[in-house]
Subunit: 412 residues, 2 copies
């Protein structure tokens, strides 16, 4: 695609919810400064919405509005497309059409990227246009660009992220205020951090989609949401939280992406015991953070707001400016290749494990449990026990062991 | 400059110390993977060193070595120059010559950038080539690229950084192990974290240079090292550390860059009381972190290794790949403009203050001190007092107040 001559880059916006509205406001507020700094003036020329009559937080010129996404994508007055409608279809159709027309696309759609990201990247590459998606992984936190650009020469062995603000808020409330799970969830819902149906967050689906995207970028590997083992936080009890504290840990829902010397990768989401002195342990409330372990660079962490209209709009705007500047230069960023690498199943991943057992409070029980660990070759790092009337609760942290699933508590 | 046809980008390296040696090793180790991912093969074709006979950590083909930096810059077999010699001259001469010859430059030279960065940026812009310097600010932490690219559309109001690993190590030892200042400094020296003459680190000169660069990038303002007020940590006592702890703070040496609505900026380095729950408080040992407050994005933090051969080489390599890819495309990144903005003096900056006074332990002293605060319109937020035999130590934290310098302890 030839460089666009004009200094103005005209944006077609698909979706005008929280993030879209915040993007419009941000461009209005900072547009002059952006033009001064980058030489590019941004103008939103078309906006596709589901309903023309809905009240919006941000005033949008009614003449820009349409319900036809393809009309926006094909518009002669649209140089660049921002997709914020979410879900797979029709987002995929719109993005494909834009890329095939040589128009760069900025999207915050994690579900789409975690499922057909590699295919979309190939289309973008074939047409020599940008496909940028900083907002899809960790909201406002610059993560995708540092991984793709700053760390492209780095061998990254592991990425561990707190990438879901809802679950981190719930776990933080449970840890800091002793709130129960149900109450903390209700609080998250009343504050707008959790949906009325919280399944996607609390069962780890959202984090799994983000983990797939992170692994793809960090390792140049083809990983989709379906490759990611995930467990949520709904089984975590106040007792788990306080045992963790006694043993020097914080419970966090982590997305863990690992690359192994044999060329395989493992990507999983589950609650994990994070040592209290680890930087991820201090990430509290609805904040997100991603911890990266590189060969040469050592440990890095990126911290910030992982969701919300305004932080996500900031990430979208960074991508829009990047794509707009590239468009003016007739250039584009390469997404690189996503090679097929063997994905390890959760049974092939070894880890230390936390187990919480309720047992009869009688002589010989601990010996019996310890014997079972011994027969299966699992060694115990630490143990704590509390009486519960007739019952006792014993928690164990094992040394590194393979195969058993992470079990926040016994389900018997 | 036209795109270079070959896939190979030939690098002229100025300086082959810790970082240069680590860069050579990193390119050797990861070169194939980089070529696969980016389509660019990196080759080091010339290396300028001070002495040809010195033993090096990394084996360098003796045929590449020269003591003539200008010969490297002018080499017909050099497409891109990496400057790692430090200091202002001859680094400035070499970089200027390279940029004027249309060769992109990657540098980790904070002293140079904090003094003549804007001039060098203008030369790079005039010749349409890249001048990249990720390693100059926070070692391996991707910070310059996120600020310049991801956050270019953001109004950044404040950046606060722990940007000197030596002083953070010393303060961490004092806080976590009750070590005295002199002992902690000696430990830092024996571990190689501090120079034999530690002045540049402990008196805040190093942090001030980095603060000038951060302010320039974050605010698009022309700020040089001489504009930065700085105080070091050599007056901080164990008593200060433990009072801070009692009051819920950690003492950190912070580089603080602020942008005000009237168009002015303030840039300063001094020890600061960081609330224990703030993410910067948990940044321990020789790690660095930079906390960014943006209008739309909210709070961000970037954490990692701020120094060391290997982390810095990782940052240099990220820049080299960026510049190499741009060179192949015939493109370059714009540094934007650095406008002249009024720099506020330290007397114009208001802040809460921590004061530590040794006074006679007799009735009426506290009233006299409190009276003095009152007469100068300074209100007290909190106070702690300890007996010291005939003397007493009183520490105060004030509400926000202007004009007095931050005083880690009375010097009377």
């Amino acid at each position: 695609m030839p460089p666009v001559d004009s200094k103005t880059i005209r944006i077609g916006l698909l979706g005008c919810g929280n993030v879209g509205g915040a993007l419009i406001a941000l461009i209005e507020r900072n547009g002059d400064e952006i033009a001064t700094r980058t030489g590019v003036r941004l103008e939103i020329t078309r906006v596709a919405v589901r309903s023309l009559s809905k009240d919006r937080q941000v005033a949008v010129d009614p003449e820009l509005l349409t319900t036809d996404g393809l009309e926006v994508v094909a518009g002669r007055d649209v140089d660049l497309v921002v997709e914020l409608i979410g879900g797979i279809e029709p987002a995929r159709e719109f993005i494909t059409a834009a890329l095939e027309a040589g128009k760069p696309v900025v999207t915050g759609n994690k579900e789409l990227l975690a499922n057909v990201g590699a295919e979309l990247a190939a289309i973008a590459e074939a047409h020599g246009v940008d496909l940028l998606f900083e907002a899809a992984v960790a909201g406002g936190i610059p993560l995708v660009r540092p991984l793709r650009e700053s760390l492209v020469g780095e061998q990254i062995s592991r990425v561990m992220g707190i990438v879901n603000g809802t679950t981190n808020f719930i776990l933080s409330q449970m840890t800091e205020h002793g709130t129960g799970y149900a109450e903390a969830l209700a609080e998250a819902q009343s504050l707008g951090f959790a949906e009325r149906d919280p399944t996607a967050d609390v069962e780890g689906f959202d984090a799994a989609a983000k983990a797939a995207i992170i692994a793809s970028i960090a390792f140049g590997a083809r990983v989709v949401a379906g490759d990611v083992y995930h467990e949520g936080i709904s089984d975590i009890s106040g007792a788990d939280i306080s045992f963790a504290d006694r043993m020097g840990y914080r419970i966090k829902l982590l997305a863990i992406c690992e690359s192994f010397d044999d060329g395989s990768v493992a990507v999983r989401v589950h609650p994990a015991m994070v040592p209290a002195a680890h930087p991820l342990a201090a990430v509290s409330g609805s904040f997100n953070a991603v911890f990266v372990e590189g060969d040469a660079v050592g440990d890095l962490m990126f911290y910030g707001r992982g969701a919300g209209g305004s932080p996500s709009a900031s990430a979208v705007l960074g991508d829009v400016i990047d794509a707009a500047v590239n468009l003016r230069k007739g250039s584009h960023a390469s997404l690189g290749t996503f090679t097929r690498r063997r994905i390890r199943s959760i049974d092939e991943v070894s880890s230390a494990f936390y187990l919480n057992l309720e047992v009869a409070d009688e002589p010989g029980v601990l010996a019996a449990v310890a014997g079972a660990f011994g027969r299966h070759g699992v060694s115990i790092r630490s143990m704590e026990q509390d009486g519960l009337g007739d019952q006792a609760r014993i928690v164990f942290i094992t040394h590194e062991a393979g195969s058993p699933r992470f079990a926040p508590r016994s389900r018997s």
